[in-house]
């Protein structure tokens, strides 16, 4: 038998590398906490790139709020068990600013409309309310608001984005919108599908931008704004958007795309590279296979397949493992479980109560408010209502009593609870 290698020592192990896990790593790194992140594919690559704070409340009425802070006030009164109700406005606001200024310093700028939500276009031709908008999408917010004559450009072979479908869907409320499919520079001869991330990297080749301008120009007509799928570069997209705007003499903007979306990839790559530069260690893609508590209350976490097993020794753990899709929660035929620490999961009883009869039922599905219960220090609780394990904290969408999909609060929830969990760890475990 091979002798077990010495465990990797750290203060904090973060389980999950979606927006919540990565934000937690940022807050921890800022405090000088030695941090390791373990996870598989982070949820951010499925993200649209928009950073929601709170868009809709109450969900059953479908009220969309321009002022997310007023919405939050109402939410915390109506749902005192919502994770937001454990935080004050200042803490939430600071946490958002922190992440956004980090992204900005790493070359991924975001904008917002004062302290208000902005209405943005989606790749389905619907709109949603969000808080922070990638700078590359900002002109779209303005064009939509003013209903400026607008050309939506799609690319032949980019399967999940249809300029015509978007324009058709928006036409009722935006008479000056048109959709047109063109051929992406360099893919004239390629039949079949082209993928967004490859296009995004191609956009950074000199010459392609000029070609794209030439392709779009004949279709411009009276357009004052031009919307394109979010494939305009991987690392310097805001510069490409500015250049295109100038050359087309129109407000050019990106529209989010379906997963795997380029804005999600940008967010993921920017966070990971920035955090790596701040000495955060990434054990990805990996899952925790086993864990135990050492004599001194530290966590010993086994990572990776048996032949390449590594052990991490951490004073504390933040569980940011996400929900069903990320396997932070697991649904058996009759019960919802938290598979790693076997934490009790708040849930709506039998499976027949998990989901409503209509997919788009305005009340939302009870299973989506299932999750782990926490105290004010973001410690997961056991059946008795006490902290389940010392120095274990939880954050992000795995938390109970929230429906981020219907409330449009996913990013804000991820980021603000990540900060709260890190602060609690710092005060409790260090």
């Amino acid at each position: 038998m091979k002798p077990a290698s010495k465990p990797l020592e750290c203060e904090l192990a973060i389980i999950g590398c979606g927006l919540s896990g990565l934000s937690a790593a940022l807050f921890a790194a800022e405090r000088g906490i030695t941090t390791v992140v373990v996870g598989v594919t982070g949820g951010t690559i499925f993200a649209s790139g928009l950073l929601d704070l709170l868009g809709t409340h109450p969900i059953e009425k479908g009220n969309r709020w321009r002022d997310p802070w007023a919405a939050m006030k109402a939410l915390c009164v109506d749902q005192p068990s919502h994770p937001y109700a454990r935080l004050d406005r200042q803490a939430i606001s600071e946490s958002m600013e922190k992440v956004v200024s980090f992204l900005n310093s790493e070359g991924l700028p975001y904008l917002k409309a004062g302290n208000r939500n902005s209405e943005v276009m989606t790749p389905l031709g619907t709109t949603k309310y969000t808080y922070y908008v990638p700078q590359t999408m900002w002109h779209g917010v303005q064009a939509l608001q003013k209903k400026q004559p607008c050309l939506i450009v799609g690319f032949k072979g980019l399967a999940d984005f249809s300029a015509v479908q978007i324009a058709e869907t928006m036409a009722d409320r935006w008479p000056g919108i048109r959709g047109k499919d063109i051929v992406f520079p360099g893919s004239e001869k390629t039949a079949g599908l082209v993928s967004g991330d490859i296009m995004a990297r191609d956009m950074e080749f000199p010459g392609n931008l000029k070609k794209l301008v030439q392709q779009i120009h004949p279709h411009l007509e009276n357009a004052e704004a031009v919307g394109l799928p979010a494939i305009l570069g991987m690392n310097r997209s805001h510069e490409i958007v500015e250049e295109l705007s100038e050359k087309l003499n129109a407000l050019v903007f990106e529209i989010p795309t379906m997963p795997l979306s380029v804005p999600g990839l940008r967010l993921n790559e920017t966070l990971i590279s920035g955090l790596s530069a701040r000495d955060v260690k990434f054990f990805t893609p990996n899952r925790i296979t086993q864990w135990k508590k050492d004599a001194d209350e530290s966590f010993l976490l086994d990572v990776g397949p048996r032949d390449q097993k590594k052990t991490i020794r951490a004073k504390g753990v933040i569980l940011a493992g996400g929900r069903f899709w990320a396997r932070g929660l697991r649904a058996d035929q009759d019960t919802i479980r938290e598979p790693l620490f076997d934490l009790p999961v708040f849930q709506p009883g039998e499976r027949k109560n998990w989901h409503r009869k209509e997919f788009l039922d305005p009340k939302g599905h009870p299973a989506n408010s299932a999750g782990i219960e926490i105290d004010n220090l973001f410690r997961p609780l056991n059946e008795k209502g006490d902290p389940a394990l010392s120095h274990l904290f939880g954050c992000g969408s795995i938390l109970a009593h929230q429906d981020w999909m219907r409330s449009k609060c996913g990013s804000g929830l991820a980021i603000s609870t990540a900060r709260a969990a890190v602060e609690a760890f710092a005060s409790q475990a260090r």
Partner: protein
């Protein structure tokens, strides 16, 4: 509009009858309230019975099934997979029933071959080790969508016409006859009046409602049956539980997947029929007694249909009420040109159509013999894309240049283009549900998450859906899928459902479109 025969209902009976009449040169119109196979014809196992299931309870039906099985294998081989079937008894099942089975089969002329449990498991390794008796029979798997689409396409080629989304609203009677039938298009609200020489009510579970409009009372019972679709194909053959018919006792291969069912739940209303969590759990429990892996595998969706049963003897349980063929001639109730086909089985649809057409011809005073017993059912593009393995097969053969609109089932864009053409030729409504019915779109693991949006885009780009019609059609399509997903949302499927909701609600805010509220 005048016609010799108006057939109400575009299920397997109505379309089969249309072809039968058309082959005899009778001019006919099919009026269908929804789309092809909207009722039980589209919500069953797709099992082509050998007849063996009925040998103990209904020997006549058993014989009919056997005979029709052989005919269909000859005339419509492209709709059938000759899988063969097994009947297996597991520990705890009635030993006498199992022991009597081969004799009962031979009395009905149905070939069966006795296997040892070991031989059976060699053929089907997923079978339980608790199997104590096994027989091989001639069951098959039949694609009911392809069957009805091809029957209708052939009938139309021979001069029949089909009115989609057209609902009967009333009958005008004169001198013991139906003089005219009033219909309305459910989408446009446009009315039509047809003056038919003969009217055939082939509306399955809805026969009583339709007959009532003509003042005729038919008493029906409704038995809901729920089925499950597995994520992959579990067995090569149809696997039947060797016992008196009960819940969750048939597993039928359907191309790349298997279909497990059913339940039998008496329902009073035909509104809001859905498979339930309780039924799903019962089917999994029962099915896993024959095939233990059915407990741990992935289910993609469930669906529920209604067995329409003519009320005769309420003391019998619903599976024992004969589902053999019957024809109600309303001459006896004072309407000379009106007949109803109240119930039947997929496996014997052709026979029902033949007998009904015979009666219609007799009433029309023509004597032209039935041709469907020998005349092959042509294969056309209409029914082509219902086949589960066709996408992967074609894609594998070099159709890779074409963009895929569905990645789960590998359906290329030109397949959808062809489908749209066939729907147009037949004057059908083009929307996502119509595409879904005629292809594997929305049937794979993602249940419409990605293909739904892609097909929507295609339909808007080609102008088949305009403006807000697009999102409306998408919403209907997603809700249709959800009905079937909801009761199987655990393990992998709850993950898929979460991804779907994260996109459509989290990213697109689809749930609040069309009701712009703002605070």
């Amino acid at each position: 509009m005048r016609t010799q025969a108006l057939i109400i209902g575009g299920g397997v009976t109505g379309t089969g009858l249309a072809r039968d009449l058309a082959l005899r040169g009778i001019q006919c119109i099919v009026a269908e309230e929804g789309d092809i196979n909207s009722g039980a014809s589209g919500r069953n196992h797709g099992l082509l019975h050998s007849g063996a299931r009925y040998v103990a309870t209904d020997p006549d039906a058993a014989r009919e099934c056997h005979e029709e099985n052989e005919i269909l294998n000859k005339i419509a081989p492209h709709c059938i997979e000759k899988t063969g079937g097994l009947f297996v008894a597991v520990e705890g099942d009635d030993e006498k029933y199992a022991a009597d089975f081969p004799d009962l089969c031979s009395k009905c002329g149905i070939p069966s071959k006795s296997l040892t449990p070991e031989q059976a498991r060699e053929l089907e390794p997923s079978l339980s080790s608790k199997v104590f008796a096994a027989y091989l029979v001639g069951d098959g798997s039949i694609d009911p969508f392809k069957l009805s689409l091809e029957n209708m396409a052939h009938a139309q080629k021979l001069g029949a016409s089909l009115l989609y989304h057209t609902k009967v609203t009333g009958f005008e009677k004169e001198n013991n006859r139906i003089k005219s039938v009033h219909l309305v298009h459910t989408g446009t609200g446009q009315g039509t009046v047809i003056e038919p020489e003969q009217v055939i009510n082939a509306t399955g579970a809805w026969v009583a409602q339709v007959a009532a409009m003509a003042g005729i009372k038919i008493e029906m019972l409704y038995s809901k049956g729920t089925l499950l679709v597995t994520g992959h194909r579990i067995s090569n053959r149809v696997i039947n539980r060797l016992r008196s018919p009960g819940d969750g006792d048939i597993l039928v291969p359907g191309g790349t997947v298997s279909l497990l069912g059913t339940t039998s739940v008496r329902v009073d209303s035909l509104e809001d029929l859905r498979p339930t969590v309780e039924e799903v759990d019962l089917i999994v429990d029962e099915g896993s007694r024959m095939i233990p892996t059915l407990r741990g595998i992935r289910y993609i969706r469930a669906y529920a249909g209604v067995r329409p049963l003519l009320k005769m003897d309420t003391k019998l349980d619903d599976r024992s009420v004969s589902r053999g063929f019957m024809l109600l001639d309303h001459k006896d109730s004072g309407l000379e040109n009106f007949v109803t086909v109240p119930s039947g089985k997929l496996s014997t649809y052709r026979f029902m159509a033949e007998k009904t057409a015979d009666r219609v011809c007799e009433k029309l005073g023509v004597s032209i013999p039935c041709l469907t017993r020998t005349e092959p059912l042509p294969s056309t593009p209409s029914g082509m894309w219902t086949e589960p393995a066709l996408g992967p097969k074609r894609w594998g053969k070099g159709n890779r240049e074409e963009p895929l609109l569905c990645e789960c089932e590998l359906i290329p864009k030109n397949a959808i283009e062809n489908l749209v053409e066939t729907i147009q030729e037949h004057h059908g409504t083009i929307d996502l549900n119509a595409i879904g019915l005629r292809s594997r779109v929305g049937k794979g693991a993602c249940q419409g998450t990605f293909c739904g949006k892609r097909v929507l885009s295609f339909l808007q780009e080609t102008g088949h859906l305009k403006g807000p019609e697009g999102l409306k059609s998408l919403g209907e399509f997603l809700e249709g899928r959800w009905k079937g997903e909801r009761p199987v949302l655990w393990h992998s499927q709850i993950m898929q459902a979460e991804l779907k909701e994260a996109l459509y609600c989290g990213s697109f805010d689809l749930e609040s479109q069309g009701k712009p509220r703002q605070s």
